[in-house]
Amino acid sequence: MYVKAVRPTDLNRNTEWFTYPGVWTTYILILFFSWLIVLSVLNCSPGLAWTIVHLSHFLVTYHFFHWKKGTPFADDQGIYNRLTWWEQIDSGKQLTRNRKFLTVVPVVLYLIASHTTDYQHPMLFFNTLAVFVLVVAKFPHMHKVRIFGINADQ
């Protein structure tokens, strides 16, 4: 089964890989397999495993999409040094398909995690906090906004 790789016109090597086929599937598969691994290692209930996956997904994606700025190579001479990965994808255009997909994934994870834990209290609070932070960080109005100067440059 073959797919065609259309070359995008994105000059930023850090974000261009996200426009190729297969990324969305890989993302979803990684989440599913990490749920299986958590379940087999910790021998807990499926709901708790989904909560753990949801919260670690929150930590990882917040750190890499909304906290770390710049690109992992020096070729582009630092023109993206003030932008987080989320602000760099699709060259800053808002509400593209990729951005919508990445906004929906934490919400779906939240729904699965809350449903499988039957909306019980300590987990529900943390899950809601996580999804709230992630979704607000992805709003178009939050493009290049640094609240209270957190993560702003010197």
Partner: protein
């Protein structure tokens, strides 16, 4: 268009994710260990911000032995590769005195001028004795010898343009000329896969840069229309100049540019065309005059033709060819002409002699033979690789053929296994290519004989089976089938 098997795309993303995760883990522990060790650079800003050299440290250095291999002889069809070893898991590599004789599938030696040539080398040695290895001066000061003027005429004649100017380095030609031609208020529209020298020159010029989809004339037209209608950013005044930059053969794809359509569109919208023939000059076309001859485009339609002498002429340096007024202007303003040392005299003589051989002016038909041989070699090699089931990019007649690898682990596997069997290949990965599309790039030369190519095909086929890169089904061997039928009868 590259067709990837879907499963390979998924596994490639997963592998890169894993490598990235391990790199971050190592960085995290390194930060903890380094906290204990106080550094004596308190108050100084760090040279690299935390994330900038992540890719180099955590991905590139692990497979460093596949890149930058030192060679100990001229880059002919067979050459000596120095063996290296590492005591600290590839962070540092030490050279040994042992050399291995390998088949060279990586050098840009398209016409075989890289090694000693019976016409060019005696003349280069004579000019070395007469002029010395360096002119020790910039062109405007004392660095223009008779060789330089002869070379410029020779090049202008070869590419069929009124005048030309030559520079000491190919990369510098692009990055120093674009800022001179364009300034703030101009528009540079470049192909998305243009070489780093063009990207750097365009960024350094201060003009606005827009990118069009690789080799897609319809997208170029769309971008041109949008930009002309829009005007300069913020003020919306009309653009001062619009220049479209394309390459003759794209070095990472082996594809030829769709020059006739692009030139037609640029004429329609009155934009200038800048053609970078680094890989195609001397290697394609009936008499080696490059992609314009091959595709039947009149050289008067291409406004600025740029090329380098490193690939087909066995020398170093670059040139710009255009109208007399343009070259005159460049000679007053280009910093590479005014301040940089001029091209070395033996190198200039090598270029002049090799152009004479290509055009047949040395009295033999070696030039035409070389051109025919490189065409046959490339077509033979490419069709054989495709028959074996590899995914090979590039058009027919192009001497550059990338074999797709995709997974990051297959890059060092392919490279090291081929080296063990005495075939040296160049592998390229992110960030020179897109993340998914890592490849091994093969450059065919006119000095490869049929036996060399057959040996290379055997080795690549064996290594390909081991590494698992035959993504397409192999075509069955038709001759064996026919023999079988005859025997049955």
């Amino acid at each position: 268009m590259i067709t990837i098997p879907y499963l390979t795309a998924l596994t490639t993303y997963f592998s890169y994710g894993l490598l990235f995760a391990f790199g971050q883990l190592r960085d995290f522990f390194r930060k903890i260990f380094d906290w204990c060790r106080a550094s004596n650079l308190q108050g100084y800003a760090p040279i690299c911000l935390g994330l900038e050299d992540f890719y180099t440290r955590r991905l590139y250095l692990r497979i460093q032995d596949c890149f930058g291999r030192p060679i100990a002889s001229a880059p002919d069809a067979w050459f000596d590769v120095v063996e290296r070893y590492s005591n600290d898991n590839n962070k540092t590599l030490k050279r040994t005195t042992k050399k291995s004789r390998c088949l060279n599938l990586g050098s840009y030696n398209y016409l075989g001028f890289a090694a000693s040539d019976e016409y060019c080398t005696p003349r280069a040695i004579k000019s070395l004795k007469r002029f010395s290895p360096s002119t020790c001066s910039a062109r405007v000061d004392g660095g223009t010898t008779t060789l330089h003027t002869e070379l410029e005429e020779c090049v202008a004649n070869f590419v069929q343009k009124p005048a030309a100017v030559v520079f000491g380095m190919g990369y510098v030609t692009n990055s120093a000329i674009l800022p001179v031609l364009m300034g703030k208020g101009g528009l540079i529209i470049s192909d998305s896969l243009n070489h780093n020298s063009i990207v750097n020159g365009a960024r350094g010029s201060g003009a606005t840069i827009r990118v069009f989809q690789h080799n897609t004339p319809s997208h170029l037209e769309k971008v041109l229309r949008e930009q002309i209608a829009d005007g300069q950013p913020r003020t919306h005044r009309p653009w001062k100049k619009i220049i479209v930059v394309v390459e003759g053969i794209y070095s990472m794809e082996g594809e030829l540019c769709k020059l006739p359509e692009i030139v037609a569109i640029c004429k329609k919208y009155k934009a200038y065309v800048y053609l970078d023939e680094a890989h195609s000059i001397g290697a394609v076309g009936k008499s080696g005059r490059g992609v314009c001859e091959l595709l039947g485009v009149d050289t008067a339609d291409v406004d600025i033709m740029m090329g380098t002498f490193t690939k087909s002429f066995g020398s170093c340096g670059g040139y710009i060819a255009g109208s007399k007024e343009l070259i005159q202007y460049l000679k007053y303003t280009c910093p590479a002409h005014l301040y940089a040392t001029s091209i070395s005299p033996p190198a200039a003589q090598q270029i002049i002699s090799s152009i004479k051989v290509i055009l047949g002016e040395d009295g033999t038909s070696r030039g035409a033979q070389k051109l025919a041989r490189i065409r046959e070699n490339s077509n033979f090699f490419r069709s054989e690789l495709q028959k074996m089931g590899f995914e090979v990019l590039g058009d027919n007649d192009s001497p550059v053929m990338p074999i797709m690898l995709y997974n990051p682990a297959k890059i060092p596997a392919f490279s090291r296994e081929c080296l063990k069997q005495n075939v040296a290949v160049v592998t390229v990965a992110f960030p020179a290519t897109p993340l998914l599309l890592a490849r091994a790039r093969i450059c065919i030369s006119a000095s490869h004989t049929k036996e060399d190519l057959v040996k290379a095909l055997e080795v690549i086929s064996r290594v390909g089976d081991l590494v698992g890169i035959k993504y397409f089904p192999a075509e069955p061997n038709k001759q064996q089938q026919e023999k079988g039928l005859i025997k049955v009868d």
